[in-house]
């Protein structure tokens, strides 16, 4: 009896300690990762889960914890007690007019505003809700609900479909950060609606553009007036990197992710090469890596500045001091932080306008450093590092440091140029003394 209670007590203790340790263990596992891996997937119907299983499986194999829910499930919610339950959201529910539970358009935008990632896939049946969310992200889907992207030249050769709405697109963005180092050989099969980028939004990028011969119209009816979206102004897949580094992927085709197009072979019209597999899998896997911050995520740590020859960071500099500035920049490679190597990182010494602008030199191990002389101007300066490159998260560091003028005893004591004045003063004093002496005692 006693041993049993003792054993249960020990068990309980172990359990409690495990429970207590759990968050730390979890934290220890993901301590380096810039983002968590809990993703909520909202679907119109659960059949999508199996029809798009290849894509989901590629995410799961990379460690993502997918939570599938129906979009009108009354129990869905992104946060509880002010804490977000998910780190990413995939909206594969183009037809949904209203989300279930507490989720609505504002909640999704808040989710992005707090730095989380989002994938939106619309379709020919896209609802107003999905369109509005896309509009908030800087992307406008074609307003005609029946219009899809048609390309009579760049279509994918197919046995069954003859209306040229299945497009073989290969106009990728030229960025190895977003699409990976390996070139995507096969064209990507696309079937869905096109969208254009809002010109006032400079954060949104066209990742996959339609060919110049594409247009957006209803293929079943006769074209009475020129289509509103034509040529390479049509974007098939776009990404947004918000100012808080949240990443959003928007596309007008849900079938882009489907097993059918993943597996299908592709031959672009007019091209003789027939690829065994469409580029969809590679394209979407790579871009998902980017969206979920497995690539192109920079961090800057250990900002240090000090006087040349000293190690400690002072609270204030003096004008014309020589100082050293260094910062470490790393890039997340998916599994570890690797040194980021580049020769275009610059630092500003800034007070209302940059007084010093220096390119940092790197030691290839992540440390960037430079040294310069504080300008002969006092005030509250900032070390400003603004680094924005395509595909990379933006780095914006500023560190405030006051610069003071000379103290009263830091000026030069004897200035060579002033020796005539010193001489004049002292000779005057001596002369006055002699004169007084002579005047008083020479009678």
């Amino acid at each position: 009896m006693a041993t049993a209670t003792a054993r249960s007590a020990v068990l309980l203790l172990a359990l409690i300690s495990f429970l207590l340790l759990l968050p730390f263990l979890a934290a220890a596992l993901s301590v380096d990762s810039p983002k968590g891996r809990r993703v909520l997937v909202l679907l119109d119907d659960l059949a999508t889960k199996s029809s798009h299983s290849l894509y989901f499986r590629s995410l799961q194999s990379r460690g993502y914890d997918l939570d599938f829910k129906l979009a009108d499930d009354p129990k869905i919610g992104l946060q509880r007690y002010g804490q977000y339950l998910y780190d990413g959201l995939i909206l594969f529910c183009p037809a949904t007019e209203r989300f279930g539970g507490s989720l609505d358009q504002a909640a999704i935008l808040d989710f992005v505003d707090s730095g989380h990632d989002l994938i939106i896939a619309a379709d020919a049946s896209a609802s107003d809700l999905i369109r509005e969310i896309a509009t908030e992200c800087g992307v406008d889907f074609d307003e005609d609900p029946l219009a899809v992207v048609v390309d009579h030249i760049g279509y994918a050769v197919s046995d069954t479909e003859g209306d040229h709405t299945l497009i073989a697109a290969d106009d990728f963005i030229d960025s190895s950060v977003i699409l990976g180092d390996k070139k995507i050989e096969a064209p990507v099969l696309f079937q869905g609606i096109g969208h254009s980028l809002n010109p006032s939004n400079n954060l949104v990028l066209k990742v996959l553009a339609a060919s110049p011969s594409a247009y957006s119209a209803n293929p079943k009816s006769k074209l009475s007036n020129p289509p509103s979206l034509t040529g390479s102004a049509i974007s098939l897949v776009s990404v947004v990197q918000a100012r808080n580094n949240a990443r959003v992927l928007i596309t007008g085709s849900l079938s882009l992710f489907s097993n059918r197009l993943f597996r299908s072979s592709v031959q672009k019209a007019g091209s003789s090469t027939r690829h065994e597999k469409a580029g969809n899998e590679q394209f979407l896997t790579e871009i998902s890596k980017w969206i979920f911050h497995e690539r192109g995520h920079l961090k800057a740590v250990n900002v240090k500045h000090n006087l040349v020859g000293e190690a400690d960071e002072p609270a204030m500099y003096r004008i014309t001091d020589d100082l050293e500035y260094s910062v470490e920049i790393y890039e997340w490679s998916g599994s570890s932080w690797e040194p980021y190597v580049s020769d275009d990182v610059q630092v500003q010494f800034y007070m209302m306008s940059p007084y010093v602008l220096k390119t940092l030199s790197t030691d290839k191990k992540g440390v960037y450093s430079t040294s310069f002389k504080v300008p002969d101007v006092y005030g509250v300066f900032q070390f400003k590092l603004e680094y924005q490159r395509l595909g990379y998260t933006s780095l914006s560091l500023s560190k405030q440091i006051p610069v003071r003028p000379f103290r009263h005893n830091e000026y030069e004591r004897f200035i060579p140029a002033a020796y005539p004045y010193y001489g004049a003063a002292f000779s005057m004093m001596a002369g006055f003394f002699l004169f007084t002496f002579a005047h008083l005692y020479n009678k």
């Binding site: 204030m316 007070m351 209302m352 006092y378 005030g379 509250v380 300066f381 900032q382 405030q400 006051p402 610069v403 003071r404 003028p405 103290r407 009263h408 006055f432 004169f435 007084t436 005047h439």
Partner: protein
């Protein structure tokens, strides 16, 4: 040459002064010998009465300034005093050298401010010395209490000084009356109540001290008094920018003496000593520095200094040259060439930029309309407005009509000292008319001159009363001036009539003086003891309502914002935010950079999206605005808004005042101008 000739001439010339200066000393001596037993006792009694009156006045001057502490609490008032308090705190914590070299990064973000080089340290050093002195004597006081009570303490000292000054220019009676008048004069109390920890509190003491010592030096021709006045001047320079008044009034006075032919060796010694040493000392204050020899405001003193040397040279030559005709020719030549050289030097200096032109504040003193047209930032301060007649009445009451009477007495008994006080009174009255805050400078002069009037009148009247019985005695005791002799002569002719009249007049005088006392006390308690950071109002049922919103707001800032947050507000609140909220501000009450203030004014008066860009460039995190619409508090930001527009428009022509007005009037309701409704404010 100066050094050589001073001793000889100084002793030679200083022979005459003692006799006119201390007319009563022979009388006293004779009285002392003739009625030894009786007179000694009277003398002692007089001394006792004088000392006790002075003590009472000293205490009164202190006590009457404590209304604000009783009404509210022991705290610092208004805007500037908060900065002074903050710097004093820094001085006592970090020591003098840290204070001297203090670069404050919390104000004027992002420019910063060199505190040590841009303030008059006299007040802070004085308070810190008092504090350290009290700590040394084992009084565990807080620095805030010292700061709160510095102004009353110096006001009390000023009364003692007024007594000595009055004694110097007239007699002890006038001195006593002057001490009593200045102790409760509202014009002075307005800037020296407990908690009004501002430069002026100390500066008026320093001003009067310098003047007293200078007059003393002129009267005695003694180098040591001249030296003392130079040190008084140094203290004044260290305490307040108003020292410019001294450095212009004293040369003007010397010039008047020269013109009226009252030039003497005493004057020569006093002025040269005071000017040279005072200048060297003043240049030790970092904020003044080389301005003292380079800026236009100080040129008058230098010109008079050189003129004096020319005068002395001429005097010496006259002594050497026996031929008057030759001397006349020489005089004409020298004076012309001296003035010519001076004018050319001034012209060249100004043109080459070596002598800086007059500052805007100085211009606006000479021409009251100048600031309104050219420098809105000076015109925007309420205490820089021209004085209304009613505020003269409010601050001086009976002194206003005693002042001309005192001038009359001064002119009747002209001496070097009375000429000085007359000039001081007249110039400062003019400046008081130009700017409200300069009533403060005029107050000591008005009190002194009025004291002469009161003292002389009462003395004459009492003489009338006692004339019948003690005619011979009073003649020997008080017969100092021709004026009194004349009045005595006239009284003999119609005695009974005049006696009743004298009694009536005496009662009238006492009635007036007692009215003055009640007025002063009422003004002090009602008008001048409000700290303006805590507001009091009468509720609908007569109960007192205290609004402590300012301090609550600053405390909120202190508690709820990150320590490096930058707060943008109109400049009035800058000092208070840094002192109480401990946060960085963009502009504050030290209005040295007009462009920076105009930028804030522009941000406040632009459309919100433009304002956002401006504020991003200034790294603003919070904006503080004051709205008094709920409680009817009139000096809120809506009220000040037109000044923001004017100051902003002065630098950035994009901002135009008519955009914010409807048919030339300023409206804040729904009929306001569209730009007004849509701007950040």
């Amino acid at each position: 040459m100066v050094g050589k000739s001073e001793p000889i001439n100084g002793t030679a010339k200083s022979q005459p002064p003692p006799s006119p200066l201390s007319p009563k000393s022979p009388d006293l001596l004779s009285g002392y010998f003739s009625f030894k037993s009786l007179k000694l006792k009277t003398k002692q009694q007089e001394l006792l009465i004088r000392v006790s009156i002075l003590c009472l006045v000293y205490i009164l001057a202190f006590v009457t300034r404590l209304f604000s502490v009783l009404r509210y609490e022991s705290m610092i008032h208004e805007f500037d005093p908060y900065f002074n308090y903050r710097t004093t705190l820094f001085l006592t914590e970090k020591g003098f050298y840290e204070f001297w070299n203090w670069f404050d990064s919390e104000s004027w973000y992002p420019l910063g401010r060199i505190i040590g080089g841009t303030l008059y340290p006299g007040l802070m050093v004085t308070a810190a010395l008092l504090y350290w002195g009290l700590r040394f004597l084992r009084f565990a006081v807080h620095i805030r209490e010292v700061c709160v009570l510095t102004a009353p303490f110096f006001a009390s000292n000023t009364t003692i000084l007024a007594y000595f000054f009055g004694k110097e220019i007239w007699d002890t009676g006038a001195g006593l009356v002057a001490a009593a008048l200045i102790a409760i004069c509202p014009g002075y109390i307005s800037r020296s109540v407990a908690g009004s920890y501002d430069n002026e509190g100390v500066a008026i003491f320093a001003l009067l001290l310098t003047f007293y010592l200078f007059v003393k030096a002129v009267n005695t021709g003694s180098l040591s008094w001249g030296l003392a006045s130079a040190f008084g001047y140094f203290y004044m320079v260290s305490a307040w920018g108003g020292y410019v008044f001294i450095i212009n009034l004293v040369p003007l006075y010397v010039l008047v003496l020269l013109i009226t032919g009252r030039y003497s060796m005493r004057l020569y010694v006093a002025y040269n000593c005071m000017y040279i040493l005072g200048m060297l000392l003043a240049m030790q204050i970092r904020f003044v520095g080389f301005q003292h020899v380079q800026s236009g405001e100080h040129m008058a003193a230098m010109g008079v200094f050189f003129l004096m040397q020319v005068f002395y040279l001429l005097d010496w030559l006259k002594h050497l040259l026996s031929d008057t005709k030759l001397f006349q020719a020489f005089l004409r030549m020298t004076v012309t060439s001296a003035v010519g050289v001076g004018a050319v030097a001034l012209g060249v200096g100004t043109a080459s930029g070596y002598i800086s032109p007059w500052t805007g504040r100085f211009y606006s003193l000479l021409d009251p309309t100048y600031a309104k047209d050219h420098i809105p930032i000076i015109a925007s301060v309420s205490e820089h407005q021209p004085t209304a007649w009613s505020s003269f009445m409010f601050d001086f009451q009976i002194l206003l009509f005693l002042f001309p009477a005192g001038l009359y007495f001064c002119f009747k008994r002209l001496s070097d000292a009375t000429i000085f006080i007359v000039m001081y009174g007249l110039t400062s009255m003019y400046f008081a008319g130009v700017m409200v805050r300069l009533i403060l400078v005029a107050t000591p002069a008005v009190c002194l001159i009025s004291a002469i009037a009161v003292s002389a009148t009462i003395k004459n009247l009492t003489l009338l009363l006692r004339a019948k019985t003690k005619a011979p005695q009073s003649a020997s005791g008080k017969g100092g001036s021709s004026g009194k002799a004349a009045s005595k002569g006239s009284l003999d002719q119609s005695q009974p009539f005049q006696k009743n009249g004298a009694i009536a007049l005496l009662f009238g005088a006492f009635y007036l003086l007692s009215k003055y006392v009640t007025h002063c006390t009422w003004v002090t308690s009602e008008a001048y003891s409000s700290p303006s950071i805590v507001l009091a109002a009468r509720g609908a049922h007569g109960n007192r309502v205290i609004f402590d919103d300012y301090r609550e707001a600053y405390f909120w800032l202190r508690q709820n914002t990150p320590p490096d947050a930058k707060v943008m507000s109109w400049w009035d609140y800058g000092y208070q935010i840094t002192a109480m909220g401990n946060r960085t501000v963009i502009v504050d009450n030290n209005t040295w950079n007009n462009t920076h203030i105009a930028t804030v004014g522009r941000a406040m008066s632009s459309y919100e999206d433009e304002a956002y860009e401006i504020m991003r460039s200034l790294d603003v995190d919070y904006v503080l605005v004051v709205f008094g619409g709920v409680t009817g508090y009139s000096s809120d930001d809506i009220n000040k808004f037109l000044w923001m527009v004017r100051i902003g428009g002065g630098v950035f022509p994009v901002i135009k005042e008519p955009d914010y007005l409807v048919n030339g009037e300023y409206r804040v309701d729904k009929g306001a101008a569209p730009k007004m409704l849509n701007c950040l404010m």
